[in-house]
Symmetry: C2
Subunit: 502 residues, 2 copies
Amino acid sequence: MSGLRRAAARAWGPPRALRAFSARPRDRIVETVGKLLQTKAQLETEEGKKNFILKTPKGTQDFSPKQMAIREKVFSTIINCFKRHGAEVIDTPVFELTETLTGKYGEDSKLIYDLKDQGGELLSLRYDLTVPFARYLAMNKITNIKRYHIAKVYRRDNPVMTRGRYREFYQCDFDIAGQCDPMIPDAECLKIIHEILSALQLGNFLIKVNDRRILSGVFAACGVPESKLQAACSTVDKLNKMTWEDVKNEMVGEKGLTPEAADLIGEYVKLHGGLDLVEQLLQDPRLSHNKLAGEGLRDMKLLFEYLMLFGIVDKISFDLSLARGLNYYTGVIYEAVLIQQQNDRVEELVDVGSVAGGGRYDGLVGMFDSKRQKVPCVGVSIGIERIFSIVNCKVKASKEKIRTTETQVLVAAPQKHFLAARLKLISELWDAGIKAEMLYRENPKLLKQLHYCEDTGIPLAAIIGEQELKDGVVKLRDVATRQEVDIPRQKLLEEIRRRLES
Amino acid sequence: MSGLRRAAARAWGPPRALRAFSARPRDRIVETVGKLLQTKAQLETEEGKKNFILKTPKGTQDFSPKQMAIREKVFSTIINCFKRHGAEVIDTPVFELTETLTGKYGEDSKLIYDLKDQGGELLSLRYDLTVPFARYLAMNKITNIKRYHIAKVYRRDNPVMTRGRYREFYQCDFDIAGQCDPMIPDAECLKIIHEILSALQLGNFLIKVNDRRILSGVFAACGVPESKLQAACSTVDKLNKMTWEDVKNEMVGEKGLTPEAADLIGEYVKLHGGLDLVEQLLQDPRLSHNKLAGEGLRDMKLLFEYLMLFGIVDKISFDLSLARGLNYYTGVIYEAVLIQQQNDRVEELVDVGSVAGGGRYDGLVGMFDSKRQKVPCVGVSIGIERIFSIVNCKVKASKEKIRTTETQVLVAAPQKHFLAARLKLISELWDAGIKAEMLYRENPKLLKQLHYCEDTGIPLAAIIGEQELKDGVVKLRDVATRQEVDIPRQKLLEEIRRRLES
């Protein structure tokens, strides 16, 4: 029995059924699965017709015009910042070959959405924008680029919609790929986070910074063997959700560290501060022997120097408890959180969690290259859904009225039988680039037309009736002040433009 | 044996294997399928590691910064037009419950991408933006909206990348939903097509118009039974790809019409013209008895009246061969094609096919409503991928240089050891909203920095070195003219803004 056939047998269970897989096990499986799924679909269609529920898939949402208006404002702030820093923009397909994503996300791989095997390639929805970016670089042999990418990604996670956790959500990524001198692009990524969070006026924030090399050094110095490094890292990453006691228990229980090692780690991951802490650790005898930790600390010092020149060092905290979950980071890592001044204490707004994060990943592109050619990368991802949920709350609280269209003029008529006149006039406005609407009725009531302006925030109404047509004028009404002036037809465009500018 | 178990038995084949499906056939199928697919995945991982190909999935593509720059220009032309007509914007998830899409696309349903059943809901990637729009309206009980939606849709079609046919592609949809007086929003949709195709300067174009009710009337008048109407319609739709002889053969052979009926249809679908043709058909004794055809023709007359007022009637052709494939249209339908003047003949640019299309679909929203409440809709979809392939060719031919960033200033240094000065200066520029870049090197050569400006089209270089630092100035260089002027540091922002404005 070949290895392949043994594998098939294990999966199927009863050995009797195995006789079906006589010649080519893979093809037989495909065929059988196809037939079974067809049957299942049939069963479900019958059940489904009775109780079809009108909804979007779990963990996803529609965006109404009002939500889109808020989104577009936030997006434009972010895009402006990315462009200010000279980024180009790329786009990649929403799905990738399943193999492209395999082995990139560690424990989180189980959250990847796979497409059904409908014959042809095996596909999965993208889980983030970083792996497709690395695939893009390797595939096109690009060794130097600064790009942003704003697109939806997909995770079969447990959705918590109220806290901005969805199965379909946007990521806004900015990355710098290429050989650079140490910490210059890394510092720019932190500057970008600072600029965006400041511009969005989300309140006070803090950017935690650490380095995977420093963490490795700490773990090594505390006696964690190399093989358990990644596991220890992902446990430390839970410190913002769990107490130290629970984290320690997981380290000792599940991850198999000694209690002594865990306690020693506990001493380190409590530390946070500024340049002084970097200097202090550079003197630490346990770390000074560790090559990686030394490199990380020296780079951290350089980073602080650059952030000082950028004038943003007061928002930066060198925090040894920051680990970040993903496998692919190799150097500096960072995460921004919103904080709240309560009495005398500074508190993290745990409700929203991190609103931006990123780090250096020098090995990812090489994983796609047949010659393992490395392209060093560093990047930042803005946690846009959490930011939306905060901005939405702020907008609701302020009772600010949000316009969902940009219409400047409503073309209206005060009497019946002026549809032709309205159509002719609105066509002139459109052709002149003026944003104009009319009601889709032959004979709408004037009051209804004016109410429409007020409801949707249209500032001007261009009214055309019997008298206006006779006099060769259009009555231009300022919706807010209710003032009306007759404007000669040939001066109308000019007058509308004048009013909209002021 | 129940019907369900019989179905399962048929799918599986050998009755012996059926013993496994004893209790709950659906659950057993799910379990078995899961195990089998796991085995298949295992087999394929083993195979795959050996021959992993670095590529995007079949029928999809990455967009490079240059392509994105062209795309963004085209998109902004289209979005400007939609906004000029007072449209709001919405967004919906990339996948829908499979049931939402079921029964909406007729023969094309086989092209829908399904997601793998990973436990939970059965999902499919959206096939167009119209069905999700109808689902959105019904779900939120919206009876009145004018919205646009620009997003990617997915079809497992045979890709022809050179002609702009992809498996993942953008649709740009504008739709008006709600009770309106006849043909007013319909006429606006045609005006929108006219505005967009004119603004994009793609060359001459023609908008073909027809009405599903007129087509029904013609088929009925030619003796096609009601039951074969849809089939006849989708055959007529192939007239732009097939000769009339082949279409006739399909009608008689596959669709079961009589040769006489087919010949009579042939006489009608040859017809195209303007208002005169509408008038002529209104007098046609065969059609005048048909209620639907009469309604359609009277509305077509009204439409021409409105299009006359919009001044676009010269680009409109009432064309009885236009059928459009999709099931859901109920009234007016239209399709825009690019045409070429060759010698004396006007010829369709068959290479690209239609660049915009749409129509009225008054029944679709009702399909989602439990009370079958109808919301009349009419809309237009811009065939953006075909437009891109044309614009791309034009750009290539013109050898126009396309900038992929908007950077205004490169911060440079002429000597070594001026990284700190550069970082400080660029930070000031960013904070003032100026788009600025620097090379990520401690000590880049001046020539390299200036070449970077020329390569990427950056118009200004702000140079800071020993002398400049001493004098409290920055040397501002115009990259095109190579002129350099010393500007006092406190006047730099002002001077840069002045230069960028002029």
